[in-house]
Symmetry: C2
Subunit: 318 residues, 2 copies
C-alpha cells in the first residue's frame, strides 16, 4: 500500500468528524488551513511517543491511539484551551492492515470523545513512533501558563493521582486482580480534563497537567513562577482501588507516578469561593504556594520533597 | 543531560530570534501561543524525516537541521503563506553534545534564513528522526491549494529541476567532481521559495512544492483538480552543471528527482502577463493544463507520462 492510499483509506475519513468552520482545509494538500475566531489565540503543543519508551512493545494499536491523543490534548486542558484539530506524524515499520485498522479506529474514537479533528499528517517508514500536535484556542491573552503562581495561592489537583503508575507496578503481581484492571484502564484510557481547564480560565493563576508525576510537574510551576510550595501528603486524592492495592505506598505513586493526566492548578483563595460547585468538586486542595523556594511536605515533619524527581526521558527509560 | 536541561541549553535560545508579536508564548510551557492577525488564516504542515529513509545514516547534523526545516517550510511556500513559527519533535538515541551543538547551530541558521522562529517541541529517546510542524499565515481564504487548476492554465516551475537527484546519482562516480559538489549543495541546502509563493497569491490557480519529483507532484495537482496536462520535456529548466554531468539523462532527473523543493504552479495565461518581471523570471512555463485526464509529454511523440510514479515512502526506501 502506498502512502497516498494509506492516508486516503485510514486517515482522510477522520478529518470530517467535526462540523466546524474552524478547519478551512484538512488532509490532502501541502498544508492544512485553520481559521481562528477573532479575539482568540491559537494554543498548540507537540508530543512524541516512541515504542519501548513511552508505551510497551506490541502495545494494542487502539489503546496507543487513544493514549497518544489524550496525552497531547491534555496539554490543551492545562492551558484552558478549547480543542480544535490535530496533526499526526506516524512512523511505522510497515503498514500492516490489521494494525492500521485498529489504530485508525482508536484514533476516531478518541478524536470524537475529545472533540478534536484530524487536520493533516505525515506517514513514514521507520521504528514505531508518533508525534501529535494539538491545536486549540483561548480568549486572547487568557491562556493559563505555568508562571503565574503567587505566594498564598492554593495548590489543587483534579481526580485521583497515582492510579496509572500503581496499575503498572502491580500488573504482574498475584494480588488485587480486579483493582489492577480498574486502575489499568486509567493507564490505557486517560481522559484529558478539557472542561475543567476551560472553566479555570480567569480563575487559575497557573496550571500544568500531571504527566511526569506531581512532584516533577508541580516543580515546573514552582520553577516558572519563582515560588515554593507546601503540600500535605495526607490530602492527596487517592482512589479506593489504589489504597487497597498499595496500602501506604499509595502516596508514593501519587507523588511520583505520571500518566494520570490530571491537572495541577494554583489559584488565589478568594477565587476558590467564587468557583461553581461542579468545578470545586472536581478539585482537591492539597497545599499552598509559598514565597520560599522548594517543595515541602507538611504533616510529615517538614521533609523536603524538592530533590525527588519525576520521569525524565533522558534519565530513565521505562 | 536531562530533557529539561537539553531544551534550555540548545533550543530555548532559538525561540527569541524573531522580533514578532505573533508568538505570544514560546518554549517552556505546556503549549505555545500564537496570535493570528485579523483577516488571516493559519496555514500549517507537519513533516517527518527518518535516518536511513529521508537522510543518510550519520548525516551531518547542521545539514540535517537545514534540510528538515527547509523541506517543512517549503510546504508553506506552496500555499503562498508567510512563515511565522515551527515546532520540533526530535527523537535521538542519546543527546551527544557535539551532535546537539551542530544541530542547534544548523537550525538557528536555517530559522533565521527562512524567517521562522522555534515555538516549542519535544525531545525523546529513540532511533534518530525528527518531525517539524511549520506555521504561516495567508489572507483569509487565499491559500493556494492543489485543487484549483483549470483547462488552459499554464504549468510553470521555479528554478531548475533534478539537481539534487543528479548529485546523489553521481556522488560516488569518478566524473564531474566540481559539478557534483555544486549540485550536492542543492541537496544539502534547499531554499524554500517563500517570496515567490507569497507573490503568487491571487495569481496561481494551484501550487505544490516539488519534493517527490515533478511527475509525482504535478500528478497530485492533476488528481486534486480533476484535470490533465501536457508537458514539453524540452522546456524543463535544467542547470548547466546537471546537463554537463548527466547529458541526455538530465531530463529524467528533472522529471523524477525530488528534493529540489522548487514550486510547480498553474495559472491562467492572462495572469502571466500581469506578473511582475521579477516573478516571471523566477518561473519557466513547461506546459499546459488540459481537460483530458492524464499527464502527457509533448515534443516526444505524445507518450504518456502518467504511469511513472515518484518517490513513495512505502514503496521504495532510499
Amino acid at each position: 500500500m502506498g502512502e497516498f492510499e494509506l492516508i486516503q483509506r485510514y486517515f482522510r475519513p477522520l478529518s470530517h468528524n467535526r462540523g466546524s468552520e474552524a478547519l478551512v482545509l484538512g488532509i490532502g494538500d501541502d498544508c492544512a488551513v485553520q481559521r481562528i475566531p477573532q479575539g482568540r489565540d491559537l494554543v498548540f503543543s507537540i508530543d512524541t511517543m516512541v515504542e519501548g519508551v513511552h508505551f510497551p512493545t506490541r502495545y494494542a494499536p487502539e489503546k496507543l491511539a487513544w493514549r497518544a491523543l489524550a496525552a497531547a490534548t491534555s496539554d490543551l486542558a492545562a492551558m484552558g484551551a478549547n480543542p480544535v484539530c490535530f496533526t499526526l506524524a506516524l512512523t511505522l515499520p510497515e503498514p500492516g492492515e490489521p494494525w492500521l485498522d485498529a489504530f485508525a479506529k482508536g484514533l476516531a474514537t478518541a478524536s470524537k470523545a475529545f472533540g478534536i479533528a484530524l487536520a493533516g499528517g505525515d506517514t513514514t517508514r521507520g521504528a514505531l513512533s508518533l508525534s501529535i500536535q494539538v491545536h486549540g484556542t483561548v480568549p486572547c491573552g487568557e491562556a493559563i501558563t505555568r508562571s503565574g503562581a503567587q505566594g498564598g495561592d492554593l495548590v489543587c489537583v483534579s481526580g485521583t493521582l497515582g492510579d496509572a503508575a500503581g496499575a503498572l507496578r502491580y500488573l504482574d503481581s498475584e494480588i488485587g486482580g480486579s483493582d489492577v484492571s480498574a486502575l489499568l484502564d486509567r493507564y490505557h484510557h486517560p481522559v484529558p480534563r478539557l472542561e475543567l481547564g476551560e472553566a479555570l480560565i480567569g480563575v487559575a493563576s497557573a496550571a500544568i497537567d500531571v504527566s511526569d508525576g506531581l512532584i516533577a510537574d508541580l516543580g515546573h510551576i514552582l520553577a516558572s513562577s519563582d515560588v515554593g510550595a507546601e503540600v500535605d501528603v495526607y490530602r492527596l486524592p487517592l482512589s479506593s482501588a489504589l489504597k487497597r492495592l498499595a496500602g501506604e505506598r499509595a502516596v508514593e505513586f501519587a507523588l511520583h507516578g505520571g500518566d494520570d493526566y490530571e491537572l495541577c492548578v494554583t489559584l488565589p483563595p478568594g477565587k476558590w469561593d467564587e468557583l461553581d460547585e461542579s468545578v470545586r468538586s472536581a478539585l482537591t486542595v492539597i497545599g499552598r504556594i509559598e514565597e520560599r523556594a522548594g517543595l515541602r511536605a507538611s504533616g510529615t515533619g517538614q521533609q523536603e520533597l524538592v530533590n525527588l524527581s519525576g520521569f525524565d526521558h533522558f534519565r530513565s527509560v521505562k
